[in-house]
């Protein structure tokens, strides 16, 4: 067998068998101080919701630290039949001078490789204005990376393709 990197393959339509955890959406407990739902829908290039996708998030704690004991930092939620996902967490602190953000992976049938994006918070306008990664994104597309405050927490819709296509990053 070759020693080069192993290629990616799609999760396929039956990803929920292998990648569902009951506790996956709970980065923090439901009643943790400051807990919010980050939630949204995932749609394809025809505007149809994806019922067979998975969102994973990774983030710093509210002080901007990673691997704090007791803080998993990782969230995972499959989409429901309407393409909706939701993760219970707290807003992260700034990391290395960047605006508060989570890094996000999206997996789905039809995605041969995960796509990677970042979730920023629309109510952090000042910090967002100084963020070195957002600065690399064309201004007219930056709004696709901003989660908007709502009654449950923050809404972050993901559009894989088409008008208002979410900005994805190449690591």
């Amino acid at each position: 067998m070759s020693a080069g990197p192993t290629p990616s393959q799609t999760v396929g339509p039956y990803l929920s068998i292998g990648l569902t955890w009951a506790e996956g959406p709970y980065v923090v407990a439901e009643d943790a101080p400051g807990a919010v739902w980050l939630h949204g829908r995932i749609r394809d290039g025809a505007g149809e919701p994806l019922p067979d996708a998975l969102v994973e998030t990774w983030q710093a704690d509210p002080q901007g630290r990673f691997h704090t004991p007791g803080f998993r930092g990782f969230g995972r939620c499959g989409t429901d039949d309407d393409g909706r996902w939701a993760i219970r967490t707290v807003k992260p602190g700034p990391v290395e001078g960047q605006a508060p953000h989570l890094v996000v992976s999206v997996f789905a049938r039809g995605l041969l490789h995960r796509v990677v994006t970042r979730l920023y918070f629309a109510d952090e306008a000042e910090a967002n204005g100084g963020d070195k990664v957002l600065a690399t994104v064309p201004p007219e597309r930056r709004h696709t990376l901003l989660a908007e405050r709502d009654d449950e927490g923050y809404r972050f819709d993901i559009r894989l393709q088409g008008d208002d296509e979410t900005v994805f990053f190449d690591l």
Binding site: P7, W21, G45, H101, R114, T136, F168, L171
Partner: protein, 225 residues
């Protein structure tokens, strides 16, 4: 410049990519600490028995019993120790335990198709399962997926996250499968396990070896503290 071993997101032979692959070029991101760290999941979601898919509490799954094992390494060749490995697969008849799988093949009351384990100190993992069957899908006329096991790996950093599929040697369906063939030709054999007599258990199970190499950099633990 290295050539990516990963498939292009838009691979029209695999029809589902056409409306799901982003059309804009991704923006190059110099990884920060957010990307150079990652979850340390370890034993968390794993319960006893999760590495043996061939039995459940009340009986044995049908089919050819196999051992699947290998080593997980990073791009520098270092073993990826103590990290979660998740697998899922069809049963021996080629049927998934899923509400959307309507293939006219029997479900197996003793097979869920879900496995989890954690790599040891040298990055090794080992599952016992049954060989999955090939199954038909609707991508094109008379389309059949080659037998495969889905693998999910985290590595030590967000950059290293990988989901892939492991295939079996010499499958005649390779030539017709747009998912396998979405991978650049030079890297396709990296998805194919090898028959391994040393992992074969006499009078019990055939052995296959599937080593996995993760792309991407990670921070050292000291840099994250």
């Amino acid at each position: 410049m290295t050539t990516s071993p990963h498939p292009p997101l838009l691979s029209p032979g695999y029809r589902s990519t056409v409306l799901r692959a982003p059309r804009q070029q991704p923006i190059l991101l110099a990884p920060s600490l957010s990307e150079l760290t990652g979850p340390v999941l370890g034993e968390g979601p794993v319960v006893a028995g999760d590495a043996d898919l061939s039995v459940d509490g009340s009986g044995e799954a049908q089919g050819q019993r196999i051992v699947v094992h290998g080593q997980v390494r990073d791009a520098g060749g270092r073993p990826v120790a103590d990290q979660l490995v998740e697998v899922w697969q069809a049963n021996a008849a080629g049927r998934y335990l899923h509400k959307w799988d309507r293939h006219d093949a029997p479900l197996d009351p003793h097979f869920t198709g879900l496995g989890r384990t954690v790599t040891d100190g040298q990055g090794h993992y080992r599952f016992v399962t049954v060989k999955p069957g090939a199954y038909p899908w609707g991508n094109h006329p008379n389309a059949w997926r080659p037998a495969h096991i889905h693998f999910s790996l985290f590595g030590r950093a967000f950059t290293q996250r990988l989901v892939t599929q492991m295939y079996f040697p010499d499958d005649p369906l390779f030539a017709y499968d747009p998912i396998y063939n979405s991978v650049p030709e030079f890297a396709r054999d990296r998805l194919v396990s090898q028959f391994d007599l040393s992992a074969t258990v006499e009078s019990w199970a055939l052995g296959y070896r599937f080593d996995i190499v993760l792309s991407g950099n990670s921070a050292t633990p000291m840099e994250t503290s």
